[in-house]
């Protein structure tokens, strides 16, 4: 019978996961010890799990319960393995797993997503470029443009507009990093200038500095009412695990 794997930790105890329900079709979560690191698993009747709201939250509840006590390394949702696969993985990856556990110890992951009004930012950038362009044309006192030249000019403005978006997006990411400062231990930041969700950041924060982190984030949000912030956490350190099999 295969196992459904939730997470692993070198500090988890049976007590932390007692009376918990696992994903559908799986038994109660239990620990299997592999030389100092325990895997939190459930015995599973099937070979795979359904991606349902219930299962998603069941997975996260189990990992979250462990996170309330210590920082585990979470498995990706849907990890179903045989006993021998799990044992092989735990034994062959021991050093890697120990290093990852040491890296995240005492920390949690916080998520900040920044949403901007892409259309408005694009319009402003285009208007600025058009203004610059017409000023240049006026100064040059040139003849009216032909169709080809007008097309090239519009293309140039479009490219300049994209560059302006990239630049503004990077500025938002840098601004946020600066405001949070050393309250963040490590970060993974994705900047997407061509999308409404312009910055997606995962922050690794020491538990003892969580209050400071949240205070800094609150202040930053007040500073930029033009941006919408989606924040969540604490999470297990999903974004700080180097996937490896």
């Amino acid at each position: 019978m295969p196992f459904y794997a939730y997470c692993l930790s070198d500090e988890v105890t049976d007590r932390m996961i007692e009376s918990m329900a696992g994903v559908a079709g799986a038994g109660a979560p239990q620990l299997i010890q592999y030389g100092g690191i325990a895997a939190v698993v459930s015995r599973l009747e099937a070979e795979r799990v359904g991606l349902t709201r219930e299962n998603v939250f069941a997975h996260e509840r189990v990992v979250g319960r462990v996170l309330a006590h210590t920082t585990p390394l979470p498995f990706r949702f849907g990890t179903v393995v045989s006993a021998s696969q799990l044992e092989g993985y735990m034994n062959s990856q021991r050093e890697f797993l120990q290093a990852q556990l040491a890296r995240v110890r005492g920390s949690v992951e916080m998520s900040v997503k920044v949403v901007w009004n892409l259309e408005a930012v694009r319009r402003e950038a285009t208007a600025r470029n058009a203004l610059k362009g017409s000023a240049t044309e006026d100064e040059s006192g040139a003849e009216p443009l032909g169709l080809g030249a007008a097309f090239m000019l519009a293309k140039r403005r479009e490219i300049l507009g994209d560059e302006a978006l990239r630049s503004e997006a990077s500025e938002i990411a840098s601004w946020l990093n600066e405001r949070l400062g050393d309250a963040v231990r490590e970060m993974e930041v994705r900047v997407r200038p061509m999308e409404a969700l312009v910055v997606a950041a995962a922050h690794m924060v020491l538990r003892e500095r969580m209050e400071e982190y949240q205070e800094r984030l609150r202040a930053a949000r007040l500073e930029r009412p033009d941006l919408h912030f989606l924040t969540s956490g604490p999470w297990p350190p999903y974004s700080f695990i180097q996937a490896r099999s």
């Binding site: 709201r53 979470p74 998520s111 919408h228 989606l230 099999s245």
Partner: protein
């Protein structure tokens, strides 16, 4: 506008989306591929990247590759 649209999302929807964003795309992977089912359709994560496709589609692509004798690495995604 953005604020209004985001406000339309219920807290529970955001929570589910955030959870999915974390648990489907990241985390330790043991076997290199993970199969889950959505509405009784098996879906497979190929490799360690977030490439989600149906098992049927994955098999189809692998068969095509075998038929071509193509040794080149190829990615599979849901858009194919």
């Amino acid at each position: 506008m953005i604020d209004e649209e985001l406000d339309l999302l219920e807290e529970s929807d955001l929570s589910l989306l955030e959870t999915l964003d974390h648990i489907l795309a990241r985390g330790l992977v043991i076997t290199g591929e993970i199969t889950i089912s959505v509405a009784d359709i098996d879906l497979i994560f190929v490799g360690l990247n977030v490439l989600l496709t149906s098992v049927e589609k994955a098999h189809e692509v692998l068969r095509e590759r075998e038929n071509r004798g193509d040794s080149k690495q190829e990615t599979v995604d849901s858009s194919q």
